[in-house]
Amino acid sequence: MKRLLSALLLAALVLPTSALAAEPATKEDKGAFISEEWELHEWVPIHLGPLNLSINKAVAYLLLGALCSCLIGILLMRVKLGRGPTRRQAVGETIYEVAQVQVAEQGLPTKAIGRWFPYVATLMIFIWTVNMLGFIPLPLSDEKVTIAGVELPTLAIFAATSTLSVTLALALMTFVFTHVEGIRANGAWRYFKSWIPEVPKVMLPLIIPLEILGQFMRLISLSVRLYANMLAGHMLILTFVGLIIVLENVFLAIVAVPAAALFYLFEVVIVVSIQAYIFAALSAIYIGSAIEPEH
């Protein structure tokens, strides 16, 4: 009974995604509504010279994510510590332990944990929250539906981390911190020298550009990993539900909705947490390896 209920709840959560589908305009563009999910329309236009700081869907999700991660921190960490731990304290301690043991201590040298633990733990909680918000249907979409004369935004699932600019900004922070901390701990000359492995002198012209390129590839791999994971997850769910509309066959729902629900579950249970953990752990490893280069 409980399982049936949760399955129904899940279907109810996934089904609203089909409401996103506006009437397809032309025959060729039937699948267009899927890519339209990633078009960001300006809600509050803010232009500062060449800078476009407008508030759009992704920004709204980010603000909400920031608020929620603050709330998580306050609600779970600022509890009265007692002999018999409450459930809240237990959850908070579990999160803290994952951030401390699995993320910070794996990558950072002991002397740097005090300074960089807050950063990697914040990254982990923030990315997890934003990812998770991406799988909860929220009335924050660009499309409107009229219910009882009131125009409301439709429920939609959208993750701020499935836009490249968000993940690139997060990766840039790690990138900058890595090099600043590397230079601060080792001095500029020693730090940049530590990039280059010990090879015969003949190989150096080949190795040096590769190693410098490798540092920038880290930036790309860190940002694209999170971005593409979230993008592909949402696309899969939307595509499966959207198939019903595209192929104009209601009976397809028998296959498509469970498939979408399966992907939804996979994303929520595994991918969301893994990606948050990976991003934080890799940030810790990069910063740690800059502070203490291997040679």
């Binding site: 025959k27 060729e28 563009d29 039937k30 699948g31 267009a32 899927i34 890519s35 339209e36 990633w38 699995q102 794996q106 791999s221 694209v224 990993r225 971005y227 593409a228 994971n229 993008l231 592909a232 595509t239 959207g242 595209v246 893994i274 990606q275 953990y277 990976i278 752990a281």
Partner: protein, 88 residues
């Protein structure tokens, strides 16, 4: 731009169809490699835990790190394919 990306079965444009085939092939081959890699990771994890069950906690973190790093390869393929699809 991306609009007709998904359901190209209806596309009458030969070039579009060719691009769609290339994209699908690229992602398919990419996931082939990642599938082997992920299978390897979990297989080794099972072996390791079977031999030394007490190390499970320590190994789990490494396992998921390896999983995510391997899995991401498919998505690089996907993004590369999408870029090629949109830009070319």
């Amino acid at each position: 731009m991306l609009s007709s990306f998904f359901f190209l079965a209806a596309a009458e444009d030969g070039a579009d169809a060719g691009k769609a085939i290339a994209l699908a092939l690229g992602i398919g081959l990419g996931s082939l490699g990642a599938g082997i890699g992920i299978g390897n990771i979990f297989g080794s994890m099972i072996q390791a835990v079977a031999r030394q069950p007490e190390l499970r906690g320590e190994l789990t973190g490494i396992q998921w790190l390896g999983f995510a790093l391997t899995e991401a390869v498919v998505f690089y393929g996907l993004i590369g394919g999408l870029l090629a699809y949109v830009l070319v």
